[in-house]
Symmetry: C2
Amino acid sequence: MSTATSTATPGTSYPTCYTKLMTLARENDLIGGTMSILGWDQEVLMPEGGLAYRSDQLALLAKIEHEMGTSSEFADALAECEANDDLTSDPQSATAVNLREFRWSLDRRTKLPAELVQEEAKLSSEGMHTWKKARANENFDEFAPVLSKIIDMLRRKAACYGWAEGGEPWDALAEDYEPGCTAAWVESVFTPLRKKLQVLLDDIMGSSHGPSNAFNEIALPVAEQKAFVHKVAAQFGFEFSRGRLDESTHPFCSGSHCNDIRMTTRFHEDNVNDALGSTMHEAGHGLYEQGLLTKYIGTPMGRAVSLGIHESQSRMWENQVGRSESFWKWCHPLLKEHFGAPVASLTFDDVYGGANIVKPDFIRVEADESTYNIHIMIRFELERAILAGNLEVKDIPDAWNSKYRDYLGLEVPNDSKGCLQDIHWSMTSMGYFPTYTLGNLYCAQFFEKAVEAHPDMVEEFASGQFDTLLHWLRTNIHEQGRKYRAADLVEVVTGKPLSSEPLMRHLESKLRPLYKV
Amino acid sequence: MSTATSTATPGTSYPTCYTKLMTLARENDLIGGTMSILGWDQEVLMPEGGLAYRSDQLALLAKIEHEMGTSSEFADALAECEANDDLTSDPQSATAVNLREFRWSLDRRTKLPAELVQEEAKLSSEGMHTWKKARANENFDEFAPVLSKIIDMLRRKAACYGWAEGGEPWDALAEDYEPGCTAAWVESVFTPLRKKLQVLLDDIMGSSHGPSNAFNEIALPVAEQKAFVHKVAAQFGFEFSRGRLDESTHPFCSGSHCNDIRMTTRFHEDNVNDALGSTMHEAGHGLYEQGLLTKYIGTPMGRAVSLGIHESQSRMWENQVGRSESFWKWCHPLLKEHFGAPVASLTFDDVYGGANIVKPDFIRVEADESTYNIHIMIRFELERAILAGNLEVKDIPDAWNSKYRDYLGLEVPNDSKGCLQDIHWSMTSMGYFPTYTLGNLYCAQFFEKAVEAHPDMVEEFASGQFDTLLHWLRTNIHEQGRKYRAADLVEVVTGKPLSSEPLMRHLESKLRPLYKV
């Protein structure tokens, strides 16, 4: 047996089976990266004539990618590696982590019968199509039949995956987005968060004080907004030699690998804060991806942990940094210098306050930093009940509206502003929503720890210095790849299990002074 | 046997083997289209960090594409189709054309041993790298060793392909770029062209009259140039719902298929004519590609005939249209309206004449419409001699310089302005150069025929109407796909074999008046 060491340093000599496994995995990833670039191209700049053919290209590449990832060659190499103690003895070694993650994804892929995979692809397409029309018509009844089929399919899918003793179907599906996450665990963190948030929101809504909205109502030329958000992303540390920032209807971040990251934002002439917020959010995703290590490209050690951990990075730069007093001390003069006359009269309070307005409303994607989490909890509670068989499709609108009444004090006026607003269920994604709020929770807990390690860090934002935070994130999170699962990473990095307290401390300490409550 | 008809109308019932062949061919093409988009992305907007991984992506896709195109499944389906008279009885039917072309490319692919393909890929990479350095150092001796290896490999490659009785090695290689083209045939058209061109050029160079260069020396903002060339491309009929126009260092036209065509141009602040010429040239390529039929995507009937025919389309819009008096009658006022003050003093003679200046010089890519062809002939004569073993590598610079002296009356000052100026040989392309001048020849002959069919066509350019020409090209050339080989297409469309006379008539009738000779 050749000498395999537990540190995955390039140049180390590995057994043949591991070298082969890595070669196959990297080839598989080359196809995945290709699909990612084609997807980006489609959203950002492809002429409309390209659509039909692009779908065919992506479908063929998905088939090739699936065949490569489930080939007997790959499975055999993996099994041979798993039998080699040198590769697995240290569970935190790069080799052991890669083998653990390959096994996890191979097992999940092989648990689903091909017919079910095809059924899901078909239902997803039909679902999105029907949902778009139903939403336009403000009519849930049009969407209900296909949603019933989707739920039936998802319950069978969950049964194929299976779940742990004491768990439930939701757990099986969430595993695709947030490995290791269970509904019971989510509930244990969400319930205290909701109770504390509701107290804070009641206080804020009862206050006669609050920030001015002036900053969000100023028309600024889109070309100047573009240059501005590029500056901010660059200042955060996003490297444009290893990535791009473009425009798309729905901002996102993708790319081939850590040295070619494509993020997008959007522009509204009358609200630079929207473009800025989107950019900072996507830059957070982009910085995470750029922080993964080149030597691990194409392997789990070179991949982000989960959607929730990814979201913790985007929310960190959008909220913990981008809505902080310290950030606006740097950004306020920059804004004045960049845009000149139209923003000349804006005070510091106008811009810092304008970025922190709290306003309960119907639409999740337009929600502020605090109420956003309530939107997520409502969806989590509903999809959990749906999958457990405790909520029938026909009863979804009533259940939705009643939760918006109870948690946010809002009367939902129609289904399009209610249970038809999100695309997720129509595209067969259940178990996905909580990753957004988990991201907020991870984020706040990470950020407190970074501040503990670098007490001057937040102060530095005021002079445009963000590298202390970036370096801390690089070392503690980005460069770890998939070494730890999300909940474990939180414990390893912060020394404590996930809790709602850091997020509440973050929101309370910022919003109570702004609203004088 | 199911009913196969000779018209390839969608919905026609084909034998299973043909349906299977088409499915395999289209899948193969989906990979080819993917590579094309990745290549475009790389040239136009990819961040530099993406380069290494992109090469790996393209290499893997090339391997997959090669395996698909040479699979026994594909070869068996093709053989079964060839044995089916219903599919082949009418040689101009879509089915027969597709089978003929699939056979041609499969045979060529299988004639080369894998080691030679790998050797060529390696030499191409080494060649380009060495050539770049040698060109920077103005030193042919640095390039000579790898060029010797390239030529040795190319001669073995030619031997693998083989050539017709009475032919020569050059023919075997040219077949990849211009199927059916032989050195003897090229010579038979080039020799009279060169003699007549030299008479014309002598007269022009001896003239004391000539157009003003003022138009080519005006600085105009690049953003305004962009908007301007977009307008011209749209006016020609390029559909932006099925294509794009972007920027790259070297303008080119590519894309996935006829409904997603990507062309690029370049901008110099002090020369809008350069951007305009490049755009009209690439728009000619783009219009050809957009004119191929959607129903034939992924099959030879949906592909351009050859590089030479492709070039005939780009040269047509660049030269026959874009350097015509009639075009400038439309474009001159547009230019004034678009750019305002900086071009206000330019007369019609300034712009029309400025687009038609003749000036023998060293560099092919900067050459005018007439002398360009001399540059090509020199390269053709040299590479033919090299491949036949009649010219040794060490003697190339002297042979090159002596031809520039004889044909253009120029003393080449150094190898970088001489035999090191082009990338083609370094990337193992011999047999490619003549397609540029063949393009000019095809173009002139096609254009005369179009004018014969539509005597008012050129007149219409003056009012910005280009659809008569576009429609003629669509019907006679674009929509034919690969029905005919290049030389046959010329005969079918114009009723005559290729001749140098139309091109000479075009040049003489325009340039003699401008130079008063």
